[in-house]
Structure formats: C-alpha cells, structure tokens
Symmetry: C2
Subunit: 253 residues, 2 copies
C-alpha cells in the first residue's frame, strides 16, 4: 500500500487521543459489552487531562455507539455494543451525500433478498413463522387512501426487516435490513395520474404469504423464486411512483 509521506499529520485533538486510548484499552483487555470503564475522575488522573476533555472523548465514543454512560450510584461509563439501529443510522448519514436512486437499491435487493430467503428455508421456529404471517396479513384490503397505502408499504418493508433479523449471516442480515430501512424513509410522491394498481398490491401480499409457507416446508429454491418475483414486482411498483430519497440525516436519535 502506498504510504503518503506528504500527509501533514492533521493534528489529532486531545479528546480524540483520549478516545483512541480508551478504545485500545477496551480491545487489549477484550472487555465485553457492559464492562465498566474508569470513572471520569479516574480518567482525569490517568490521562492527565481536564474534565472537559474527558467528557468530549466520551461523547465521541458514545456517538459511535461504543459506550453508554449512566449517572448515579453504580453509574459511570460502560462498554456498549453497537446496535444494528445505530449502525444503520450512521451509515445512512453517508448515503445522505450520495444521491442514491431507487434503482440502485433494488439492484442489490434483487441479489440479496432471494439469497436470504433461500438460506432461511426450514430454519425458522413456529413463533418466527407466526410473527411473519402476522405482519404479512396485517392489511387484508387494498389501501383506501394515499396515507394508508404508504402505511402498507412501510409494513411490507417491516416484513423484510423481520425476515432479515432471522438470518444466520450477520452481514447479509444487515445489508438487507439497511435497504429496507432506506426505502421506508423515502418520501414518495405518487404521480396523481398513476392509478393505484390493485393487482400489484394483491400479488405482493400473496407473495409474502406464499414465501412464509415455502420457508415453513423448507423449500429453499421455492422461497428464492418467490422472493425474486416479489422483488421485481416491488421494484416495478416503486418505479411507477415518483419516489425520491428524502435528503435528511437519520440522526441516530
């Protein structure tokens, strides 16, 4: 790898240095989620910096989801597992600047969702299957209003997020779940002249129900085929609408 020796060493602020040392400290000792970190006062003494500097370092780590802090007796800072939610929010900030199109997202969905479905065939518990069925059947009639239609769309994406949550492959799970999240955060401007397509709605719904059945009977290739078809239908539906990604920070709130 070509080392850029002309880099002017972009000065590393003290809070950043402290944050780095704490990260190293955690990794070296292989501290697990929930492990206690030194108190504010101890860090001040340990690193020889002021309280303000320590606090800024803590905010940095907290913003990345690496620690959590609590006040009160027994309080302090603790190693905190980065949640999928947090990771999605942070990653969404990146795509805020990237002008991502619906087509871009669906190009990946069409590759990943069928693979996810196939991998889940015959591996779900009765409870998981029931949860999926509950979501898939939550709306049993076509949307009566644009608001309701949007609600149904979000629910449908919830189905995919739920499904992703069951995957054994964490990377695949995250990618699929992230895409569903991005799509749910779209602002959809329905073309007024585009009539609501009831047939597409019915197909999408039965796809999800059929998919759950295929998963239940362990039919991997069937599940893959259904999902592939489902993705094509969904993309069609999105493309017919004039959808744009809402340009905003998802904000990790």
């Amino acid at each position: 790898m070509p080392e850029d020796s002309t880099t002017p060493t972009p000065r590393r602020s003290r809070p950043l240095q402290v944050a780095d040392r704490i990260k190293d400290w955690v990794v070296e000792r292989d501290l697990k989620t929930g492990a206690r970190l030194p108190s504010e006062a101890e860090m001040i003494a340990q690193f020889g910096v002021s309280k303000g500097t320590v606090r800024e370092a803590m905010r940095i780590l907290e913003a990345q989801g690496l620690i959590v802090t609590r006040t009160g007796p027994g309080g302090g800072s603790f190693v905190g597992e980065v949640t999928a939610e947090k990771a999605k929010a942070l990653l969404a900030n990146y795509f805020y600047f990237q002008e991502l199109s619906i087509a871009d997202i669906y190009r990946l969905r069409k590759l990943l969702e069928p693979e996810l479905a196939a991998g889940l065939a015959g591996r779900l518990t009765a409870g998981q299957l029931a949860a999926l069925r509950e979501i898939a059947t939550r709306y049993d009639r076509p949307a009566a209003s644009p608001e309701e239609e949007r609600e149904q769309h979000v629910t449908s994406l919830r189905f995919h997020e739920q499904l992703a949550g069951y995957a054994a492959n964490p990377l695949l799970a995250f990618c699929v779940s992230f895409m569903a999240r991005m799509l749910a955060d779209l602002t959809v401007y329905r073309r007024l002249y585009e009539p609501h397509n009831e047939e597409l709605w019915a197909r999408g719904r039965s796809h999800q129900i059929d998919l759950v059945a295929a998963l239940e009977r362990g039919d991997a290739e069937g599940a893959r085929a259904i999902m592939r078809s489902h993705m094509e239908g969904a993309e069609d539906m999105m493309q017919r609408q004039e959808a744009r990604v809402m340009r905003r920070f998802m904000s990790a709130r």
Copy 2:
C-alpha cells in the same frame, strides 16, 4: 409499526439536543459540504447553553463525520461530507461485536462482485483501466515469504476496492469496498502444514488481468463469469488458511 408506548423516555442529554438542532438546521437549509456553521460563541448565545455543551455537541457531529472544525481566523465548524472511509470505519465497529466469518463475507462477495464487474464493462476510461492493470501486475512472482504473501493478498483486495470505486451504483460500491476492507483487516494464521498453493496464486492473478481485458472490450457477461470464478478461487484460498477476523475497532482515526 408498533409504537412502544412504555418507553421511559431515555433522557436526551443537552449536547445531543444541540447536535440534533444543528443537524436539523443543516437539513432545513439544505447546506452543502463546506458550508459554514455558526461559531462557538454564536451557538452559545443561540441555544443558551455553555461552551462545554456546545463543544460536546460538535464532537458528536464530528465523530459521525458530519462536520469538520478548524481553528484560526476564518475557522469554525463546517458541514463535512461523510467520507466512505469514515462510513466503513463506523460500520466496522458494528461488526466488531458480530462474529462475522469468512464464509459470511464470501457469500455476499460471490453475489455482488460479479454484478459489479458486469456493470463496469465498457464504461472505464483508459486511465482507470491502466490503474487496475498496475495493481494487478504489481506482483509478478509467487510470494517468497508469509509476509510477502500477506502483502500480495492485501494488494489483491486493493484491486477490488479500486474497481468498486468506479461503480455507478454507490450502494453496490460501498458494500463491495467494505467487504474488501474487512478482509484486508483479517489476521491470517497460515496453517504451517498447508503448503503455499502456487497454482491458486497464478489463477487469481490471471483472473484479474483477464477481467480488465474483458472490461476494456465491453464484455459484461465475460467479466461477470471471470469474477465469479475469481471469487470462488479466492474463497477457497481463504478457507484453506485459518483466518479469523481481527477483533478490534477500526477506530475511524
């Protein structure tokens, strides 16, 4: 979506609130990368909080890659595009806790890399093709030592990152590039009894060279096939070694 009304309102610290308001401020005005934010003093007045609180808010936004700050006259805080590097580092923190296996990563690589290659056929400039060739031919002989072999492996992954950088689809580009990065950060413990497989090395190298040729002549399906084959060979190579993901924060340094 089921709203959890039992959520005990997990108190939002003042720095977090200030960070939120600044994000909203940026999004509302649709400020672009490089746009100037109010000075520390102005924010203190604007939000009615102390300097420390404002600074903590800035560190939060900075940790997420959303702003950069400079000292001196004309200095201050500025809207800062989240870089791919930063996004990868933040996301890597998530997988630090997830026990990701080589097989998990390759399952996605086998799906995405061929697609990426196919989409690039006939779309690269002479300069881009030359850059790829330069990386692919950087090592013209089998590795003589374990260190050299690891170096070659990292260089090979650089090839894929470079390729991803040319993709038109930002999501696909990011996923592929991220996976290459994760693999490059692996700690590879070569099995001592496993002899270096010279044939696999030669195949991998010619794959990359053939791929560039296919891309140059606009042969999408050829590129896809070569990449698919290349992925299978690479996975084989990784699996033969005893590789584990290094458990560490990539630290966004």
